[in-house]
Amino acid sequence: MTDHATLHDRIQFENVSKFYGEVLGVNKVTLSIPPGVTTLVGPNGSGKTTLMNLMTGLVQASSGTISVLGLSPGNATEFFRAVGYCTQFDSFPRGLSGWQFVFDSLMLHGMDKMDAFRLTVEALDRVQLGDSAGWPIASYSKGMRQKIRLAQSIAHHPRVLILDEPLNGLDPMARAESLALFEELGRQGMHLIISSHILDEVDRISDRVVLITGGYLIAEGNIHQVRQEVRDKPMQVLIRCDHPELLASRMFSINHCVEARLHADGQGVFLRTGDIDQFYSMLNGIAAEGVIKINAVAPADDDANAIYQYLIGSDGSAS
């Protein structure tokens, strides 16, 4: 019963490989993605888009099995009622206005004109494109084209939304609006699979990350858990306190700290340690002494960006 429930609540990859001729797309990927916001992280050509295309049947696995909420893309009628995919292909069927593009795609769901009309208005409002909906898509800016693709992919209220570089081409205001929308959809229990190279922004709304490079899965899970598992990389912690220099010297004397850097406002210190468990234990001891008043302790580098740098590196070769 549990397995059955899990299968119908998750996106599952079981030992999935995809080869384009002799070129590796992804290799032996096994994943189980629960509801929430999941970020695919990896350099260009790492296999992020291939994973998304495999999920939606745009490409077919060379081996292994994929199911999305227990559905297969082969059963298009049910599958694409549950799934929306905003691809990164910046092209559209010729001669359509933004309105026609969303309305036509809803009509293909078999709904009547009234429902399609209502959902089109709702989707265009959600991406704040209502005013220019009647314009030809050919006259849209890159940001508007990105928005109309997003509107089309969410218009039918999918349970799974797959977004390939959804922030590309958006100005800062539109990026913030899109992120707020993604966050809201994630809170509503939807599966959101996002690939983006704007990690700082996506990181704020992600529940978990999937790191991939060269077609191989490097790590997956909750961002903090993944960071904890990277034991061989020192972790950085920001401690806000009244005597940061004193704290730094104490920590250096009794712990394997490898780096200390004062915060710009002089009210805190960034400490980098190779053994986070021992570090926190020592810190508790210092706090208990009462000499240094510690106001706040927060990990400074367990975000998707830091994990990306540790595991993959800026040139994709760290691992």
């Binding site: 298009a76 694409f80 799934v83 691809t87 092209s91 559209f92 293909l108």
Partner: protein
């Protein structure tokens, strides 16, 4: 055996036919709109109506006597056999049908259809239907105009020939041949466009194949659109030289058998196209 048939019948009845019909209707409407109302289609209008223009000029310039009806009947038969079937509909369908799938891949917009809740078979057949409607609408309209303009200048004699004489059966035959040609070439070019990135060289091979088909063994003649249509032609044109190759009828076949044979060929080609459609992958970077 009875159980198998019963189970198949139940499964058949349980399919969402109403939904598929609505989806197919919508897809067809979208595609027909794009096929007929775009500047890119203007050369297909030209292919369909250039004989119409010539016949119109002929009607204006030349004097028409009753004795001339049989000559004009042969001219019209020649236009259908040598121009429409061999060139006009052939290249018109190449333009319309190769754009339905391959054109969308080149324009990188096919994925929107593949990501909609429409079975790929329904998608393919709807696109085929849209292409067929567009081609038939254009070429059938041109054919009706050709008949009207060819016999109209003969006045009452022309009207009598078309509505009460031999012209009636000929016109009916042409109005059957044109849609069959559109469907036949359409199915072939739709498949070729899924098999080749550039279907034009393959289409040229088909053109050559259609031309030499009459001299091929009987079994190979069955893999040809024009060979079936040849049996439906109401007027025999005494072809000379190379043209004799295009009009020779090697093996007498009834009109019904020829029409059914062509429809069967279309069904086989579409079935294989559906199979390819199910396996189709979106890899625009290789286009």
């Amino acid at each position: 055996m009875a159980d198998t048939v019963g189970s198949f019948s139940r499964s058949f009845a349980q399919q969402p036919w109403a939904l598929w019909r609505r989806q197919a209707g919508r897809l067809t409407l979208i595609e027909v709109r794009r096929n007929l109302f775009s500047w890119k289609a203007s050369w297909i209008y030209f292919l369909a109506f250039v004989p119409t223009l010539l016949i119109f000029i002929h009607g204006l310039v030349d004097r028409h006597f009753v004795e001339g009806i049989s000559d004009d009947t042969n001219v019209l038969a020649g236009i259908v056999q040598f121009y429409y079937v061999r060139l006009g509909i052939f290249f018109g369908c190449l333009g319309i049908f190769s754009r339905l799938i391959r054109g969308e891949m080149i324009e990188r917009s096919l994925h929107f259809y593949l990501l909609s809740p429409v079975r790929r078979e329904i998608l393919l057949l709807s696109k085929f239907a849209a292409g067929s409607i567009s081609a038939v609408l254009l070429f059938e309209t041109a054919m009706v105009a050709n008949i009207a303009l060819m016999y109209g200048p003969f006045g009452a004699a022309g009207r009598d020939y078309v509505f009460h004489g031999a012209g009636l059966a000929q016109s009916e035959a042409y109005l059957v041949i044109v849609p069959l040609a559109c469907l036949g070439y359409g199915a072939v070019f739709l498949l070729l466009s899924m098999m080749f990135k550039n279907p034009t060289p393959a289409a040229m091979l088909v053109l050559g194949w259609e031309a030499i088909n009459p001299v091929l063994p009987s079994v190979l003649q069955k893999i040809s659109v024009a060979s079936y249509l040849r049996h439906l032609m109401p007027v025999s044109i005494p072809g000379e030289g190379i043209f004799a190759l295009l009009t020779v009828e090697t093996e007498p076949v009834s009109g019904w058998a020829a029409a059914l044979g062509l429809l069967l060929l279309i069904a086989v080609v579409l079935t294989y196209s559906c199979y390819r459609m199910r396996r189709l992958e979106i890899r625009y970077t290789t286009e």
